[in-house]
């Protein structure tokens, strides 16, 4: 067991930190207010080659693992960018895996380079209003039409659809009642977000205003046969591959955000004097921060364990799920305690901790609710009967 980062991993953290120092809290506060996408940050990340961190070298990426990607995401969150920064680049950092693993050579040659440069944004369109976590119940349908498919349906909670030209779109190609197994009969497409056929409606939310979340109404969207990823009917399995790494990265983002909140609270507790002494002298201030920090450090260990197992090709469902659970809890609690340590100022936007709090809250729900994680642990790790 080796808990040391390699020199290269240290260098990655150092350089990402240096890049993020150009985007201080004021930048993110301003984006949170205006809702404008953080273009400058996104471009700086693309220019630094960071979007390609896990993409194989033959496609111009760095070919590194989820361990390194997690370090990048944790660092980005820890520098104050929080979920706005992470969500802006999250999909570019990892979400392209199905395209890389199962896409046609032509699609990879055509799209990976511009995605890496930051020229093409991609959304991930799986969730539906009537299906939610029960993905096999999706009803968006692709019907064969000429040399391709015509797609109709609705998707919800689609991040960055307004910036994106393309989406990884999961649809049924065989109706639910005609398949042998409920996970069959779904297909994954690398589809255009064609404004003629896709109506985008933004959903207004608690936090992360700079990165849009949308409803998509898909009306006769034509997708060429070449844009089907892998085999027809097996799409569900292609997205399944990405679920553990996604949880690991989200957990890393939570750890980063929680640490940032604690850092700000500590700084404030040292400076703020009430009753003639810094408030940090009081155990009532100190203990909650110390305890939160301990929880974040522990969650970080689980993130790294899960990432390391994934990179070694080992099963990591248990670790990935637990890391997401623990990190989300720790981040929410840390952000809440950071507000508490700030007193009334914690409720004021200028002090940023309320923004971390609003953003961290997302991860007790997304990409999967804490309760569904516990269901996984209960059923698949502890061997208890399925509860839902």
């Amino acid at each position: 067991m080796d808990f040391q980062l390699t020199d290269e991993q240290e260098e990655i953290c150092k350089q990402v930190r240096a890049l993020c120092s150009r985007f201080p809290d004021e930048y993110w506060r301003e984006r949170d207010e205006s809702g404008e996408f953080p273009w400058e940050f996104y471009q700086a990340i693309a220019d630094g080659g960071w979007l390609g961190i896990t993409i194989p070298r033959e496609y111009g990426g760095a070919g590194l693992g989820i361990t390194e990607a997690a370090l990048v995401m944790q660092t980005v969150a820890e520098c104050g960018g929080g979920t706005q920064a992470c969500s802006a680049i999250h999909l570019g950092i990892f979400g392209l895996e199905p395209l890389i693993k199962y896409g046609t050579q032509a699609a990879k040659d055509k799209y990976l380079a511009p995605i890496l440069r930051g020229d093409i944004h991609v959304s991930f369109a799986v969730t539906e209003p009537d299906a939610g976590t029960n993905t096999t119940q999706i009803s968006t349908f692709a019907t064969r039409s000429g040399d391709g498919y015509l797609i109709n349906g609705q998707k919800v909670f689609i991040t960055k659809a307004q910036e994106s030209k393309k989406m990884l779109l999961l649809t049924r190609t065989t109706p639910f009642d005609q398949v042998e197994k409920k996970t069959l009969g779904m297909s994954l497409f690398f589809a255009d977000i064609d404004p003629e056929a896709v109506e985008i409606q933004e959903l207004h939310k608690l936090g992360r205003k700079a990165v849009d979340t949308n409803m998509l109404f898909i009306d006769n969207l034509y997708v060429a046969k070449e844009d089907l990823i892998g085999e027809e009917g097996r799409g569900f399995y292609y997205i399944l591959d990405g679920i553990n790494p996604e949880r690991i990265l989200i957990a890393a983002e939570c750890v980063g955000m929680g640490k940032r909140a604690i850092e700000r609270a500590v700084q404030y507790a040292k400076e703020r004097e009430v009753f003639g002494r810094p408030i940090g002298k009081n155990q009532g201030i100190q203990f909650p921060l110390a305890e939160s920090f301990a929880k974040l450090e522990t969650a970080e260990l689980m993130v790294q364990k899960a990432a390391s197992l994934y990179d070694q090709g080992q099963p990591c469902g248990k670790e990935a799920n637990i890391s997401k659970y623990m990190a989300a809890e720790a981040a929410c609690e840390a952000a809440d305690r950071a507000i508490q340590a700030h007193g009334g100022y914690g409720y004021i936007k200028e002090y940023d901790v309320e923004r971390y709090w609003r953003e961290a809250r997302l991860f007790r729900i997304a990409p999967i609710s804490q309760e569904m994680v516990l269901n996984y642990v209960g059923e698949h790790v502890l061997g208890l009967p399925k509860s839902y």
């Binding site: 020199d7 290269e8 260098e11 350089q15 630094g48 080659g49 960071w50 390609g52 760095a62």
Partner: protein, 251 residues
């Protein structure tokens, strides 16, 4: 064109520096180290020269024990082609540093040596000037702009001097030390970091260079700056003027 860039490992300017209680040095626990920021500017200038010419070589040189490798890797990740680490575990004063560098310059034969105007740890601001003297080369210190002639045989350097700018020119080879406003250094990209791990860091022992490293300077003690006392708040401009006149006696 070959450009040699010197790199010194110094405490991160953003860390809080504490002087040891006996004044013999600074506390080194929990200190992060970086490339001396002025050296980083020098490296950026060297990289820009190479990129503009579309050819050439940027070679880093640093003196110290193996931990300095960390800063050399960062410099290689920024884009330098290779590095030389002069292994040495004793403290060196500026003249000893200049003498070691002179040996490296004789060996490497660069057309240009780019250095930071000073290191932010001891602020000596001497190594560049001493190296120029030892080599008998022209020097331009405190550079805020460097323009290479079309035939690459000479440079024109704008220097930041008291009350203005001075532009001087000389034929290469020569030495330039960078001031703060010369450029804004780049961050290493991920592909840069990946390439850096394959680049060469050549190690040579300082003892083998036949350079006189005997110390001419001893540090007797270090003291932290005196704590600033809290300021005073005044209600009116009149009160402020009164205090400046009567108490501070500055007007």
């Amino acid at each position: 064109m070959k450009v040699l860039v010197t790199v010194k490992r110094v405490p991160d300017p953003e860390t809080t520096i504490r002087v040891k209680s006996d004044g013999s040095g600074i506390e080194t626990d929990n200190i992060k180290y970086v490339i001396n920021p002025f050296d980083e500017i020098a490296l950026e200038e060297a990289l820009r020269i190479k990129e503009k010419l579309g050819a050439g070589e940027v070679v880093l040189v640093s003196i110290g024990d193996s931990v300095v490798t960390e800063q050399l890797r960062t410099g290689l990740a920024m884009g330098a082609d290779r590095a030389i680490l002069v292994g040495c575990d004793q403290d060196l004063d500026s003249l000893a540093v200049a003498r070691i560098l002179a040996k490296i310059v004789e060996d490497e034969g660069p057309q240009l040596v780019l250095m930071g105007k000073q290191a932010i740890d001891d602020d000596a601001n001497q190594a560049g000037q001493m190296l120029a003297a030892l080599l008998g080369w022209p020097q331009a210190t405190f550079a805020s702009e460097v323009v290479l002639s079309d035939d690459q045989q000479a440079v024109k350097v704008t220097r930041e001097v008291d009350g203005g700018l001075e532009t001087i020119g000389f034929a290469l080879p020569g030495i330039i030390t960078s001031d703060l406003r010369l450029n804004e250094p780049r961050y290493a990209s991920l592909p840069g970091i990946m390439k850096a791990r394959k680049k060469e860091i050549k190690e040579v022992a300082a003892a083998d260079l036949d350079a006189d490293m005997s110390p001419r300077l001893t540090i007797n003690s270090l003291e932290p700056p005196t704590q600033k006392e809290a300021g005073k708040k005044v209600e009116t401009v009149e009160e402020l003027i009164g205090l400046l006149h009567d108490e501070a006696k500055v007007i």
